[in-house]
Structure formats: structure tokens, C-alpha cells
Symmetry: C2
Amino acid sequence: MSSDDTRGRIIDAAGEVFAEKGFRAGTIREICRRAGVNLASVNYYFGDKEHLYIEAFKLAHPAGPEPNLAQDWPDGALPNEKLRAFIHEMFKRLLRVESPAWQMRLLQREILEPTPFCMDVMREYFLAKSTHLMSVLDEVLPPEMPLYRRHQIGFSIIGQCVYFRAASPVIRMVIGEREQSEHHTVESLTDHVCEFVLAGLGLAPPLGKTAGDDNRLDFSRTDQAAAFTPQRKHESFVDEQEQDRVKP
Amino acid sequence: MSSDDTRGRIIDAAGEVFAEKGFRAGTIREICRRAGVNLASVNYYFGDKEHLYIEAFKLAHPAGPEPNLAQDWPDGALPNEKLRAFIHEMFKRLLRVESPAWQMRLLQREILEPTPFCMDVMREYFLAKSTHLMSVLDEVLPPEMPLYRRHQIGFSIIGQCVYFRAASPVIRMVIGEREQSEHHTVESLTDHVCEFVLAGLGLAPPLGKTAGDDNRLDFSRTDQAAAFTPQRKHESFVDEQEQDRVKP
DNA sequence: GTTGATTTCAAACGGGCGTTTAATATAATT
DNA sequence: AATTATATTAAACGCCCGTTTGAAATCAAC
């Protein structure tokens, strides 16, 4: 258990604070206050703020046993099952609210705004993650598809997952608090991204209406859509969510 | 023209600096240095740093003429053409390197880490953007699909676009500088996301291999109802390990 | 040219930050 | 018990920040 000694308590508190506010805005004073230790302890145990951040990040990086290794799969697993497991794991980590919730937030922060001193750990982590996803995609994508194209597809999948987490404040502005808490859960988002991605890859039926004859462009567009699409629903965008926190 | 007087030069410089470093890390001193004005000018013209940020953000928000209004479309435009135009416009704004490159970066920053004083402008902007995307999707998605599902699809599309920009440093770590500069251009990424999204919606052929039936599910003929059968919730083979890492 | 308002300027203020220090308390070793 | 090593503490240092100030410069109108 790392939260017994001073050093461990500092790292834990640092992880929380840095994940919440970032490296620069997260202050040593708050970290020490939260850890219940003296201000000078950080410099005593870690030298300076930067090295404390690195230590916290190293702890966050391999956070928990990385379960998604290629050889972990049962031999008979279908590609869509593997893909689903990958996305599910991603959302579980991104959205988890349990005790060590800060690890993924810290990682996410490094993705979107890298600090110069963690590049090596980051590269290692993402190479592993990407390689794993690529190995799954390889079973699905045609062999003649160029590598850059496979990469684009992989990042499209990861990007969707990360976005739902990273942009959640702005998403809440659009769909309202209720819809978000109800439908942007691990399970619901996993279902959605899986459906969308698998459809794009041809492993599941497409999400659009299948009115036409084949999956070519469908020409039954405007009339049908205008007739059946309830326009009211768009007004529910405005969705009476009001939290104002404005300053005087 | 805003860049002639002192006030305008300050706003321009503030936009750049805030877009690069964020509200907190961007200092008034650097802004004034870049604008070539005295340090006290910010407080003379704007009162304080926060109001300067708001002014810069207001200028960034309607950056350029917003071309993507629903009524702008030619009446005969197909849904996939509209979708492509939406994605293309998104990437053009996200990846542009021309003179006012900072507007979208500032907006992107507010998406991923909102400052409390721009919420209103943000909400207005994103409601408009989302409503527009939804109106396009409505022509494609079956009318009985619930609203939350449409929202998820919309955010999946936007999320892909934003991610390619926001995570570009980490993406570069994985694919290398050459592949990124060569294939992560506005046109190449527009092509990719369009293909992927349209395939997911059934407006284009899927990206996966279509030849063999080795491990591929066959959806050659599916009725519409099949598209909405919920995925199995619990994949038993998915990892169960949620333990925290314990330090030795 | 004088007056009066507006704009620029150099300098400083107070506060929060990361970091250091030197003294003290605790533990370990002999 | 005495001595050394280790850990904690309160206080301070120096730095950069946003902000303020009061005087100098610039401009406008008569």
C-alpha cells in the first residue's frame, strides 16, 4: 500500500491534483495540504516539482495490469469481439469513477497537451496500445490497404472514445445533464462506438436507414426524412439544464 | 481592421498566446511584448486579464464567416455530400495554418478544458454546430432511432475530427513525422473520416475486407430492425482485472 | 499656444509560486 | 545512553505574476 508513508501519500495526492489541474496549475502547496504533509516534503523526497510529476505519471502509466495484450485472446475470438473488448476497456478506464480515477485523466492530459518530460513513457505506452489495436484491425482490413490508412482507422476509433471523455463538459452543454448521465455510461458508449465502428468495417449492419436496394447511395432521402423526423426533438436541445455559476 | 490600433494588436497577440498556452499559462507580459505595447495597456483597455480573454475568445468564436448553415445547401445535395462538406469544413478550420490559425485552437482549448467565463458563447456555438450536423444526420438515420443515439453518432463524427488535431503530438509519436505530414492533411483526413463515417451509416461500402467469409459476419441481407438489436452487454471473456497496482 | 482629455510609459506593489534553509523531532546504531 | 542518520517542521528567499500608480507624452479643440 502506497498511502502509508509520506512519499506514497504525496504521489497519490499529486496524481489527483495534476490530473485535475494540470502540471502548471497544480501547486505543490495544494498537493502537500491534501497529503497532509509539510510543504518541504516534496523537495525532500523528489527534488522538485517536475520529478514529482514524472513519478506520479509513471505510476499512472501502467495503471493496473494492462489486460489488452494480443496473446491474451482466446484463440477462437472473433475480430468484432476483440474490438469490442478493446473499446470496452478503453471506456472503462476513461470513465471510471473509482478510487484511482486520476490515472487516466493524467494520461489524457498528456495526450492533449504533452509536457516535455514524459515523452518517453508516453511513446512507449501509445506504441503498445496502438500496436495492439492494429493487430486486431489487421484481421479485418484487406491486406492491400496501406499502413497509413490502417493508422487513420485506429485513431478514429481511439479518438471517438477519448472525445466522449475529454469533451464531456461541452457535450453536457448540448445534450443536457440528464441525457449524459443516462446514456454516456461505459456500457452505453461501448455499445454505440462498437456499433458505429463495426458497421464502418463491415462487421455489423450500418446505422443508417436501409431503404435502398444496396449499400450504395440511397435516393429516398428528403421526403421520407422530412415526413418522419420529429422536428420537436431538436428543440429539446435547449433542454432545461441550468447551472449558472456566473460571476457577478 | 483590428491590428492597427493598440487595442486590436493586443487582442490579436492575446489570441495567439492564449491559444498556445491557455488562459493561465499565457501571461500578460508576453502578450504585450508580442503586441509591442506597454504592459499596462491591457488593464487600460480591458480592465483585467479575464476580460481580455473573453474579448479574444469572442473574436475567435465566429471566426470567419460560418458557412455551414443548413439553408446554404443546394436543394438537391445528397446527405453524403452534406456530410462531407461538414467534415471538410471542420478539418479546414482545425488544421489551418494560415494567419488566424489561433481561433480554432482557442476554441478547441475551451472544448477540452472550459474556462468558466465563456460558457455562454461556447454553448451557443456548439448548439448551432450540433444542430446543423443533426439536421444532416436526420436525413440518413431511421426516424425511430432515439435522440440520444443520434447525438452519440454526431459526437463520434466530431470527436474523430477533433482528436486528429488535439492529439497530433502523440499521434506523431506513433506514426512518425513523415507519415503525419504526408497523410494527415485536410484532404487526406477528410477522405478518411468521410469514408469511415459514411460506411458506418450505410452510405458507402465498408472498409473491412469483403472477400472471404473466414471470420466475417454476413450481413448481406438484413432488415432494418436488425440494426437496432442491442449488443450483448456482458462479454464473458472480457478481462475482470480491475486491481490497483501495488508497489513493492 | 494654451488647455484639457486621452493614451503611453516606467516603476512599483502585493500575492502566490517553487525552492531553500536551518532548526527540531524521530529513529537507528553502537 | 550517546551518537549518528533520517525525517519533519516553520520560516524565509527569490521569482514571476496580475494589477496599480502617477507622471510623461500625445492629441484635439479653441
